[in-house]
């Protein structure tokens, strides 16, 4: 495969890794975060410390990235998850920016000039394997009672509580899990670019991840996969229009969101069970419509 195309695929895989976690948090649990680039930064720097300073293998770097992101998320979650909706969102935004600013001023790790010389460990194969594990884990999670509890929180928090769901614990579970995904993505990014700089993990990166999740469709894993691939490739394909590239990118995203307001997949899944569910829902809707029409005509009949 072309070196350039391969590179884009790897970037798409890295984005997807982070997006999978955010999909769990935003798409399935209904919490918005604008600080996930912060967790990517933690993962990137932690893994770089592991592979360069501690001379550990890449796998250990990835593990360290996940663990440190999880640790930060757990602490932040404990403090902020009691906040409702918008307030939680602002708290994550503050966290993301704080991480970036700390790294900007942390000279031992290169400060704002960045940190060159991270080994190029990221390959097509190890990204593919990690993403496959990530997708499988997420799919199994959302189809279990734990995943259903998260979805219940998204749908109706008060009712979820009354149904015996420990809302605080499950929100933190979603937050920590999503941070692990972001941390691992950060590790792959660091070892793909071989150079990391705090600027790479600014607010715009967090926003990009959230855009991909919404673009792909909230509550859909296949939507997130599709979204990550499409939105990583799109800016590259648009290189033809040169400096109008980002304008065209924005226009394309807006157009797709207008034509598919629930995102590309919008709550549907491209899986045997998902397709079956879509078909069953269609059938049920038709049956319900028929039943309603019948009762309506019966009522009209009895009135006349």
């Amino acid at each position: 495969m072309d070196y350039y195309v391969q590179g884009i695929f790897m970037l798409a895989g890295i984005n997807l890794m982070a997006v999978l976690g955010l999909s769990l948090l935003t798409g399935f649990t209904g919490l918005f975060s604008f600080g996930h680039a912060g967790f990517m930064a933690i993962g990137a720097y932690a893994s770089a410390i592991a592979t360069t300073m501690l001379k550990l293998p890449f796998v250990a770097g990835i593990a360290l990235a996940g663990v440190s992101a999880a640790l930060f998320a757990w602490l932040i979650g404990k403090m902020t998850l009691r906040l409702k909706g918008d307030y939680f969102c602002i708290a994550t935004l503050g966290f993301g920016e704080a991480i970036r600013l700390v790294l900007d001023n942390f000279q031992a790790l290169g400060g704002s000039r960045g940190w060159p010389g991270v080994p190029a460990h990221t390959t097509m194969l190890n990204i593919f394997i990690s993403v496959a594990i990530g997708v499988a884990f997420l799919a199994n999670l959302v189809n279990s009672r734990h995943g259903r509890n998260l979805i219940a929180i998204r749908e109706e928090e008060l009712a979820a509580q009354i149904a015996g769901i420990n809302v605080a614990r499950y929100k933190n579970l979603a937050f920590v899990t999503s941070a692990i995904y972001a941390g691992v993505a950060g590790a792959f990014l660091a070892h793909y670019m071989t150079f990391i700089q705090p600027k790479m993990f600014a607010l715009i990166k967090s926003t990009e991840l959230t855009i991909i999740v919404i673009f792909g469709g909230l509550g859909s894993i296949s939507g997130s996969v599709l979204g990550a691939v499409v939105l990583t490739f799109l800016p590259e394909l648009l290189r033809a229009v040169d400096k109008w590239r980002l304008v065209a990118y924005g226009a394309a995203v807006i157009l797709i969101m207008i034509s598919r307001p629930r995102g590309l997949m919008g709550g549907m899944e491209l899986s045997p069970r998902g397709v079956k569910k879509i078909l069953a829902e269609r059938r049920a809707k038709r049956a319900a419509a028929a039943a309603n029409a019948e009762t309506a005509s019966a009522e009209i009949g009895s009135e006349s």
């Binding site: 734990h146 219940a152 009712a159 829902e281 319900a288």
Partner: protein, 268 residues
């Protein structure tokens, strides 16, 4: 009036509320309310709008923190517990303004609420280990069974928000039953229903009580439902208990008639 003094033997009460008080700033929404629900009984809670009925539900289920007084469930104080723990103990409710998981199907709504019947861990789910598969199958069976009992099985795959109003209320009740509750709190279950649907609902509540050995506390404005269904009734007004007794006593209580029922007493 003599019947009001019927004393219940201790231990036969599933819920006991003592001196229950809730203040929002300077306003006492509920103050010093006492009552108890007999094991297996159906108790009605009535009163004008703003009398504090739903607030009492929120206090019992832990949604609001109690300012003063106590709530005893099977003799155990539960007023300081988190809502999910109270639900786990066997107290659950429906809502005045229906709160379903709107974008999920009827089946998924019930299946989600069945979660306490399974105990597999996150890791077991991630690796799809045998216990996960076994318990998950049991959960699905339980959800189907419950839907069959209330006659929603042919709507299992319909999205909850697409159900007709009456069936949404019914679904909320089954979702509550999925927790295997001992005490069910129904907040205006017949609101917006026509007399036919109300009649059906009444029969359903009675049947479910017998089948699941429930105790029920119900808030309702449909007086025929309350009078026919409940063994005892508590009347609230301005956050305080105005009266308590069997339906006939309540119907003939002058204070209740004045505050709430509004019809002249003894209009034979």
């Amino acid at each position: 009036m003599s019947e009001r003094t019927t004393t219940l033997s201790p231990g036969s009460e599933i819920l006991e509320v003592r001196g229950l008080t809730k203040r929002f700033g300077g306003l006492a929404a509920v103050s010093g309310v006492d009552f108890s629900v007999r094991e297996g009984g159906i108790m009605g809670l009535i009163g004008p709008n703003g009398a504090g009925k739903t607030t009492i539900f929120n206090l019992i289920t832990g949604v609001y923190k109690v300012s003063e007084g106590s709530v005893l469930f099977r003799g155990e104080p539960i007023q300081d517990r988190e809502p999910y723990l109270i639900a786990d103990m066997g107290v659950t409710r429906t809502f005045q303004n229906i709160r379903l998981f709107k974008n999920l199907t009827v089946f998924e709504n019930v299946l989600t609420a069945c979660h306490l019947s399974a105990s597999y861990t996150l890791a077991e789910a991630a690796l799809r280990l045998p216990r996960f598969r076994r318990e998950e199958r049991a959960l699905r069976d339980k959800a189907s069974e419950l839907l069959k009992i209330v006659g929603l099985e042919d709507r299992a795959e319909v999205t909850a928000s697409n159900l007709p109003y009456g069936l949404q209320r019914r679904l909320e009740i089954v979702r509550a039953l999925a927790l295997d509750p001992k005490l069910l709190l129904l907040d205006e279950p017949a609101a917006g229903m026509n007399p036919d649907e109300t009649e059906q609902l009444m029969r359903l509540i009675g049947e479910l009580r017998d089948r699941f050995k429930l105790s029920v506390l119900v808030i309702e404005h449909h007086m025929d439902l309350i009078m026919a269904l409940c063994e005892r009734i508590v009347v609230l007004n301005f956050g305080m208990k105005l009266a308590e007794g069997v339906p006939d006593e309540i119907r003939n209580d002058e204070r209740v008639v004045e505050a709430y029922l509004g019809a002249p007493a003894g209009g034979k």
